[in-house]
């Protein structure tokens, strides 16, 4: 005879999976002790659960990995760079551009002239100056005037405290002074240039060294992988042979059993 518990399949399932409280458990167990039909059903469902354990999914190599999706960002966006860093980067780019282009800024009468290494005009013929620039005569006059003023300033009003050897002669000393400055400037430029070339060469050597080291590492990794693969293949072949032997034995046994029958 059917009892109310026979119809309560939610309770039966909860009991089967151990997800009911003590009161429900007691009720179900008392019912199963008294109702053979439900006891048989529970036994059958337990068997089904046991069979379910045998269903194993395949185990393919997965190894998914997420790589930052930089490509999806708009090219103009600098989402995580602060403003000061953007400004610094812009200055750096300009400075690098100026250095590469051999930028030359000169002040002439007509205004500021900006020239790059690629846009420098051919040197003018001797004795001529570009139209509008300061002429040699004007420069010479300016230099003369400056030397005169320096000489005047060097002489104290109340009498000369400088010896004749120290006091520069108006023109000759002025020529030495400008030549010395020119020499110093040339020397400074030469040193800067050689230093720059040295740094470039050093960077290049470092880059080459890094690339070689990376190539060596890749090669070693590849070799290791090959060795591991070879080792695994040998083990697999050995195991495969073992299984083949077992299968042959089994087939032989089966054939013998059939012969006996």
């Amino acid at each position: 005879m059917k009892q109310p518990e026979c119809e309560d399949k939610a309770l039966l399932v909860a009991w089967l999976y151990g997800e009911c409280d003590q009161e429900e458990r007691d009720l179900m167990e008392a019912h199963l002790a008294a109702c053979e039909a439900c006891a048989v059903e529970v036994e059958g469902l337990r068997g089904t659960r046991a069979a379910l354990c045998e269903w194993a999914p395949p185990e393919p190599a997965l190894g998914f990995r997420v790589v930052r999706e930089e490509v999806n960002r708009p090219r103009w966006a600098w989402p995580r760079v602060p403003v000061w860093a953007q400004a610094a980067a812009a200055v750096l780019v300009l400075a690098a551009g100026a250095a590469i282009a051999n930028l030359d800024v000169t002040l002439a009468r007509r205004g500021v002239t900006i020239r790059t290494g690629w846009s420098q005009p051919a040197p003018p013929p001797a004795g001529t100056t570009p139209s509008g620039d300061v002429t040699r005569d004007e420069l010479a006059a300016l230099r003369q005037e400056l030397l005169g003023r320096i000489t005047a300033v060097s002489k104290p009003a109340g009498g000369s405290l400088m010896t004749a050897a120290v006091a520069p002669a108006p023109v000759a000393a002025g020529t030495d002074w400008t030549q010395g400055v020119s020499k110093l400037i040339d020397e400074s430029e030469r040193r800067q240039k050689s230093e720059f070339e040295r740094q470039i060469a050093q960077r290049f050597v470092e880059f080459q060294r890094d690339v070689s080291a990376q190539q060596r590492m890749e090669f070693v990794r590849l070799q290791r992988g090959l060795v591991q693969f070879q080792g695994r293949t040998s083990v697999d072949i050995a195991q495969l042979r073992q299984v083949q032997g077992q299968v042959q034995t089994y087939l032989l046994r089966t054939a013998q059993v059939q012969e006996v029958k």
Binding site: E19, E43, G47, A56, V67
Partner: protein
């Protein structure tokens, strides 16, 4: 199964014979939200097998299960910023995966088919064999696995999903109800009906409790 799932979530893994504590799901999620892709990759490593197994058992197709698994993590990565932690990370992943499985089944009204090769492939047998398992036991287990897979595919999608989440993923009835958006009683009913159908199907195929399936080795 539940113990394994809880350990996985808490970042406890067996390594060299002992349990090793790593970062919990919550910690890794927090770092992933801050843009740490490596933390998200650790979550993938932790959950890709369960998600793949879930997809395979629901749709019954190896390659498509792999695609579903990959798409699940891709969607999770894209939406990790919107994940507020109101549910467990694993539940959130299961929901994404189940939605994708549902899409897969309904897109072309495809019937899930478990790939079950009839012949015995020695290479596959070798790979599946347990440490102390004989070849006879292995063949028997494979036959049983094939019959169970076949029987599972006769169930409705809802019944199959309930059984997969309960039996293989180890979720509680309440977790399943929350995941599929159905009342608790409905989940229990689906599970009961699914198990009963499986029982009948397996008995028709000659599988009874304590009895090996047909085609077993002596």
């Amino acid at each position: 199964m539940t113990v394994e799932r809880d350990r996985r979530r808490a970042g406890l893994f067996l390594e060299g014979g002992g349990l090793v504590q790593t970062n919990t799901d919550e910690e890794l999620v927090a770092r992933s939200v801050r843009g740490d892709a490596e933390s998200f990759n650790q979550l993938i490593t932790r959950w890709e097998r369960p998600i793949y197994a879930l997809a395979y058992r629901v749709i019954g197709h190896e390659e498509d299960a792999r695609d579903v698994c990959q798409e699940t993590f891709l969607r999770a990565f894209r939406g990790i910023g919107a994940f507020k932690g109101q549910a467990k990370f694993s539940s959130w992943l299961y929901r994404i995966a189940l939605n994708l499985c549902r899409d897969w089944i309904r897109r072309a009204r495809r019937t899930p088919v478990v790939q079950a090769p009839e012949g015995v492939d020695l290479g596959e047998l070798l790979a599946e064999r347990g440490p102390a398992e004989s070849i006879e036991e292995l063949v028997t287990r494979r036959n049983m696995s094939r019959l169970v897979a076949k029987a599972m595919m006769t169930l409705s999608e809802e019944q199959r999903t309930a059984i997969v989440l309960k039996e293989y993923q180890g979720l509680t009835f309440q977790e399943i109800a929350d995941l599929v958006g159905s009342p608790l009683s409905t989940v229990k009913t689906r599970l009961y009906q699914g198990l009963s159908t499986l029982r009948r199907q397996l008995e028709e195929d000659g599988v009874r409790r304590g009895v090996n399936p047909p085609g077993k080795m002596p």
